[in-house]
Amino acid sequence: MAAPTPRAPPVINTTLPCNTKQPYIRTVRWRSIVACIVVEEDVSGGEGGWHTPSPRLRRLRHYEVAASTLVAVLLAVAVTVALDAAVATAIAVIGVIATGSIADVVAGRRVRAWGYVERADDLLVKRGVMFQRTCVIPYGRMQYVEVTAGPFERACGLATVQMHTAAAASDARIPGLPADEAARLRDQLTSLGEVSAMGL
């Protein structure tokens, strides 16, 4: 495996009072979404030179799981109260919260499993916990790069970068990149793709 291309050091916006010596992921975790937009986090730093999605993706998944758990709890309470069964209410609420916790842990592991490396001639993307997939796409095979950001991703300043080849099965999606990192990756991939483009 070739060494990853050198990258610029992380830019940290110091307007937020956070101690960079501490793993600020912890300190920022429970701050508001507004705060997390201000922080410029480094996406590199995984083991083995893998770049990982932003920790904000982890937080976004937290919120998603929390929101759906909340909805499920409200539904469970509404149904069981309508049936007038107090014990059932308690059991349902505990069950839903337990499921939500497990889902949260699974979502966190899945976020941590994502990773990508820009190598000299190709992009390497890995993902998955149960089903682990690693995908190599030569830059020359790339047809176009797609950057998408849903409303919640946008609120967190995140974007998803996806590389498309002529093969439908190619699976190179990198979610949860900070918007400027996504833009950088898009431009980088596009220019590399132009240099080494080849026909079918």
């Binding site: 001639d121 149960m130 997939r133 190599v136 030569p138 080849t165 002529a166 190619s170």
Partner: protein, 447 residues
């Protein structure tokens, strides 16, 4: 239409041929006047069939519904005529231009230098009227195809030959390159093979059940037929389409690629450039094993069909050999791919736990230029993929595979049906291969 100042076409050409020549010289040309009829043909046949089939029960209101059908037919026909009136083509400055549309005008341009192949397709009705459709395939990655539907046979032949000559930078009147016939398939064997194929066997089983029912319990028979009629009809259509597509298939080798001609009702002639071939697949169904038959398919690069492209375009895997012996398949394969890996290696025995049904057929090998894999549960499927055509490589490890220390490697190509999977290999070996394959693919491409 024709410009009086234009040079007269050389003598000895029929009027249709001279129309093609005029179009090549830059005069706007219309398609064949019968085009709307042939295009509406399929729908018209369906509507006529609807008119003829008695609806059963009372015929009250049948007249008005017949009138409605006829009205639909007339509207379709009028729209067809308008489409014909506004569709024109010509060659201007090395670009084939096709204008169409009344309200939403579209103007398509096909640079002659990018033309990769021109296919001729003649549906049944088109053959009755002596017209043909030209499909112009460009070499660009988009896989865009232009259609000229329909031209008269003479016009289509002239235009096809001259466009191809122009696209190769040769004089317009250069004859087509000589070709060498590689293989033909006897219709009887094709028919037998389709009867023995998976859906063929299903159809036969259903028919046998229906016959038995007719003898044993005629009361249930009518209900069973009416319930299963649509499915049965669909199945029969599918089988017929396959029979039609592969009927009298002639594969010939020429300098510009493989020439494939086939068809019973709808005939087609297409060219598959060698460089366009993404993968080759050999299928040996269980029921064919007794005869030692196999089917060889070729997968070419194509995009998902969108818009006006019809379904013939979307069937990307084309049979090179609908049915034939292993020797015939090996002969064809050697014509397309050289230096294939000979020895195939089976996965470790513990893979039996992960793929109990597939295990006996699993094997794979790679060399500097090709990857070959076999798999399949009931039928054995062998895939050959040139490493030069690989778009991306994926390493997959599922939970069971992880426990058994196994991994699969997928080699994705731009083809739509075939992609090679080195399934359930030893993990260490697979990871080593996964590390090497990108470089091997790069070297294969640079050759």
């Amino acid at each position: 239409m024709s410009d009086p100042g234009a040079p007269e076409p050389p003598a000895g050409l029929s009027s249709a041929q001279s129309r093609a020549v005029a179009g090549l010289e830059g005069d706007w040309q219309r398609l064949h006047p019968l085009s709307p009829l042939v295009r509406a043909g399929r729908g018209a046949v369906a509507i006529v069939a609807l008119l003829l089939i008695p609806t059963g029960g009372s015929r009250q209101g049948a007249l008005s519904s017949d009138l409605a059908h006829i009205a639909v037919l007339v509207v379709v026909f009028v729209l067809g005529v308008i489409t014909w009136l506004v569709t024109r083509w010509r060659v201007e400055g090395g670009v084939l231009r096709v204008d169409s549309g009344l309200i939403r005008r579209t103007s398509e341009r096909f640079p002659l230098s990018q033309i990769q192949a021109i296919d001729t397709v003649r549906p049944g009705l088109a053959r009755v009227f002596g017209v043909a459709e030209l499909r112009i395939r460009l070499a660009s990655g988009s896989g865009k195809a232009g259609r000229l539907a329909y031209l008269s046979n003479a016009e289509a032949e002239t235009l096809r030959a001259r466009l191809l000559a122009l696209s190769h930078g040769m004089a317009e009147a250069t004859p087509a390159p000589p070709e060498q016939t590689l293989v033909t398939v006897a219709p009887a064997r094709l028919f037998a093979s389709i009867l023995l194929s998976g859906s063929g066997l299903v159809l036969e089983l259903v028919i046998v059940v229906l016959v038995v029912l007719a003898v044993v319990a005629p009361a249930i028979e009518a209900a069973a037929i009416s319930a299963g009629a649509a499915g049965l009809f669909g199945l029969a259509i599918t089988l017929f389409r396959r029979f039609n597509g592969d009927y009298k298939l002639v594969v010939a080798d020429a300098s510009d690629g493989l020439h494939l001609r086939s068809g019973l009702v709808e005939t087609s002639a297409e060219t598959i450039p060698m460089g366009r071939i993404q993968a080759i697949r050999m299928i040996e169904p269980l029921a064919w094993r007794a005869f030692g038959w196999c089917r060889l398919e070729v997968d070419v690069a194509s995009q998902k069909s969108r818009g006006r492209q019809d379904r013939n375009q979307s069937k990307a895997a084309r049979a090179l050999l609908p049915v034939g012996s292993r020797d015939q398949a090996a002969f064809l394969l050697a014509r397309v791919f050289q230096d294939l890996p000979q020895e195939r290696v089976a996965p470790p025995a513990r893979a039996r736990w992960k793929s109990p049904l597939r295990f006996r057929y699993l094997s794979g090998a790679t060399n500097e230029r090709y990857a070959v894999t076999t798999s399949g549960r009931l039928q054995r499927v062998t895939d050959w993929v040139p490493l030069a055509k690989v778009q991306s490589i994926r390493l997959l490890e599922g939970p069971i595979q992880r426990r058994l220390q196994l991994s699969s490697i997928h080699l994705d190509t731009a083809g739509r049906r075939v992609h090679a999977v080195l399934r359930d290999r030893d993990r260490t070996e697979a990871r080593k291969l996964f590390g090497e394959l990108p470089d091997r693919c790069r070297h294969a491409r640079q050759r």
